[in-house]
């Protein structure tokens, strides 16, 4: 096995396979239309080919690994609304705050889904005493509507089944009559497990805990409605409608059902959204129109191509054949990076794009270090094969040390552990991520691929010359 890798031709073969695979991933959707009439002597039929190629989806391991391989555009490129909300937790007990934030997130997600926004992201951020939610809605430009929808406090209320009127004919859902019991009376919902050891105790249940007023109201409701359903509504949508088994006197209700643990957790989150209502205020809001971003992308991509061409010209001009080989590695670098962006997937923002373009310039750094070393070794009259291997070998320390520093910076900028004392800005993260990915990929293409390209092609071309 080790021998296999020692033969640079084998390594190159693997690299070629990788490149072919990467190109498959990179290919955007291109329509291919062929409409060609064969000459008479060949039968005169028309050949028609009209299909889209590229834009493939990844489907592997029986669907366990699935990727829609299109570039995810950040909000600054796609256009849309981004809102940073801060939750006012002053009325919530410390221990319940994390739950309340999750419930708030859940509520906002449900509302966003109701708006029919497909490209939406709702994230929570809990740093020291600040509970925040970042909502990003791509393709939404009506900020007014978006804000009024997501900014409201969740409304939870209880309704009783009306057995007098027939249920809805199409859905079979019974009619429910509103009561005066609301989310304000619910203290907290939580997942509990069966206390009775003789029964199967692993089944999760949902416990509702009312405050004093709520307990009184709930007692009345349950006493009068045994055998009927009590529905719990969140934002006028039914969450759950259990049947009342017996009167609940102490304000502690248990809802049983064949819940899985995940189901129970989701329900509890939804119920808590009403039980722990959290007012929010807008801290930051950004709306980007649909054209601004795309224009910038087109310009930046053009700038990238111009820059890349200059770098390639420079490398070939300065280092000759070695520079040409490095340029091949650089193009592979670009292709691999793009494929990884699609695969991860990296959400591409404008600063991210700048990071990528910058990394192309930095990617040849390793090559330049190595080539300068080779030149130096040659000046010392060492034979070419030794100069080549020394050039690669001795530069490694410098390459490693130098890149580690950039990794440290990228780490701080990306702030992966969400440390409260460091910035967590989205665009900055986009830049840091593309920068860090760029370093790792360029170490691979700049050192390993170039080295094997040089081993195979550079030495051979010299041999034929002599």
């Amino acid at each position: 096995m080790k021998k296999f890798f020692q033969n640079p031709k084998n390594v190159l073969l693997m690299v070629m396979t990788l490149v072919a695979f990467v190109i498959m991933i990179d290919l955007p959707l291109i329509p291919v239309k062929i409409n060609y009439e064969l000459p008479k002597f060949l039968g005169g039929q028309t050949i028609k080919y009209d299909r889209m190629i590229g834009g493939y989806d990844l489907y592997a391991f029986n669907g366990k690994l699935r990727r829609d391989l299109s570039i995810r555009k950040g909000l600054d490129i796609a256009g849309g609304v981004s809102v940073l909300l801060e939750a006012d937790m002053s009325s919530i007990v410390d221990s319940d705050r994390a739950d309340a934030l999750n419930s708030l997130k859940d509520v906002i997600e449900r509302r966003v889904n109701l708006l029919g926004i497909s490209e939406a992201s709702v994230q929570t951020s809990n740093v020291s005493d600040k509970y925040r939610i970042i909502v990003e809605l791509a393709g939404v430009f009506d900020t007014n509507q978006a804000l009024s929808t997501i900014g409201q406090v969740a409304q939870l209320d209880f309704r009783i089944e009306d057995t007098e009127t027939p249920p809805d004919e199409t859905t079979g859902v019974p009619n429910f009559i509103p009561t005066d019991l609301s989310g304000a009376n619910l203290q907290k919902a939580s997942v509990v497990f069966d206390q009775d050891q003789t029964l199967n105790s692993s089944e999760p249940k949902i416990q509702l805990q009312f405050n004093t007023e709520g307990a009184k109201k709930f007692k009345e409701i349950t006493e009068q409605n045994i055998g009927k359903r009590v529905a719990i509504y969140l934002d006028n949508q039914i969450v759950i409608a259990p049947v009342v088994q017996s009167a609940i006197l102490d304000g502690r209700a248990i809802i049983t059902g064949q819940f899985t643990l995940d189901d129970a957790k989701i329900l509890v989150t939804q119920l808590n959204a009403g039980a722990l209502p959290v007012p929010v205020k807008v801290l930051e809001q950004r709306t980007v129109g649909p054209t601004l971003g795309q224009e910038s992308v087109n310009k930046s991509v053009f700038a990238g191509i111009v820059g890349l061409s200059l770098v390639i010209l420079f490398m070939i001009f300065y280092y000759g054949r070695l520079g040409f080989l490095a340029s091949i590695a650089l193009v592979i670098y670009g292709l691999v990076t793009l494929a990884i962006y699609k695969f991860v997937p990296v959400v591409l923002t404008l600063p991210g794009l700048a990071g990528f373009i910058l990394s192309i310039g930095m990617a040849v750094d390793a090559n330049i270090l190595i080539f300068e070393r080779i030149k130096e070794e040659l000046r010392l009259d060492k034979p070419l094969s030794i100069a080549l291997e020394n050039g690669f070998g001795r530069s490694w320390d410098s390459i490693r040390d130098a890149n580690l520093v950039t990794i440290i910076t990228a780490f701080i900028l990306f702030n992966p552990f969400e440390w409260g004392f460091l910035p967590t800005s989205g665009p900055v993260r986009g830049f840091a991520l593309t920068l860090a990915l760029g370093i790792f990929i360029s170490l691979f293409t700049g050192v390993i691929i170039t080295r094997n390209l040089v081993r195979v092609f550079y030495k051979r071309s010299l041999r034929t010359k002599k």
Binding site: L283, V288, V405, A410, I412
Partner: protein, 294 residues
């Protein structure tokens, strides 16, 4: 081998001039913080085929008729029909009012982007940014000191890094004065990238000094340093050239929103390259004068 270090006083003089210019422009002109730091609102609109010629002064008068709206500045974006209005922290309703006010005057007005940042958030970002820069500098110093088993190397690298940062920030005080360029989150990102780039380059030279030292431990420090600089200078310049190509292309041809970000990175790259050879290394020699050996 070229005796680079013969002219070390010249290098210090050049750096001194740039540093002085940076410090003076920072003191007298200062930086123009964007709403990321100050809080406030930014509204960009396109005004197509206006009924009358647009003067930003007139526009200011119209917009300030909307109650509770304070205008910090109105800029027209070159080569477009876009205008950027910097305002106090207003809400959606106020923004709609402003747009209808503009429509009254100029007919077709399209909103391109609208951003608001609360005042607390701005202050928070300022503190976090400072923390990020300090932590990055500390980690890099630790790494360099550990890697080279010597505080002298670390000190020289950090001083060169501060030199680059100061010149970068100073240059933006000048750009701010001449072209109204503002300091935003992306600028901070550029500063941090410059920190790492500056040290990245310095490490390559230092690595070479260390290697020469291993080969001939009895040479004079000046000779070792000259040898290392001779060995790394073309690499350093060539590498920076490729980065400069990319960044120049991006600054001149790239999108407006990342134009000044690219310029900041470009300034950082140029001074980072210069400082590795012509600030960090001479400093190393100065520190060494007090010591006989490395």
């Amino acid at each position: 081998m070229i005796n680079f270090m013969k002219f070390r006083n010249l290098y210090f003089l050049i750096s001194g001039i740039f540093l002085l210019a940076s410090i003076l422009s920072l003191i007298f002109w200062g930086l123009r913080p964007a709403i990321d730091f100050t809080g406030g609102a930014l509204l960009e609109v396109t005004i197509e085929n206006p009924e009358k010629i647009i003067a930003t002064d007139d526009m200011e008068t119209f917009v300030s008729e909307v109650s509770d709206v304070k205008i910090n500045s109105i800029q027209s974006v070159s080569d477009t029909q876009n205008y950027i209005l910097k305002l106090n922290n207003i809400d959606e309703a106020k923004k709609t009012e402003i747009i209808s006010k503009l429509e009254e005057q100029y007919q077709t007005v399209t909103e391109i982007r609208f951003e608001t940042v609360g005042p607390t958030l701005g202050k928070e970002l300022l503190v976090k940014t400072a923390a990020a820069i300090l932590i990055a500098a500390a980690l890099i110093l630790l790494y360099v000191a550990y890697q080279f088993k010597s505080r002298i190397y670390g000190m020289s690298a950090i001083l060169a890094m501060l030199h680059d940062t100061l010149i970068l920030v100073g240059s933006f005080a000048i750009f701010g004065r001449l072209a109204g360029v503002e300091i935003d989150t992306l600028f901070v990102t550029a500063v941090l990238t410059t920190l790492s780039f500056s040290v990245h380059d310095t490490i390559v030279v230092f690595d070479r000094i260390r290697e020469s030292l291993k080969q001939s431990p009895n040479s004079k420090p000046v000779d070792l340093v000259n040898k290392a600089v001779t060995g790394t200078l073309s690499r350093s310049i060539n590498n920076s050239m490729t980065i400069i190509f990319m960044l120049t292309a991006l600054s001149l041809l790239g999108g407006i929103s990342i134009k000044w970000f690219s310029v900041a990175l470009l300034v950082g790259t140029v001074t980072g390259t210069y400082s590795s050879t012509f600030v960090a290394v001479p400093l190393l020699l100065v520190f060494l004068r007090n010591k006989k050996t490395f």
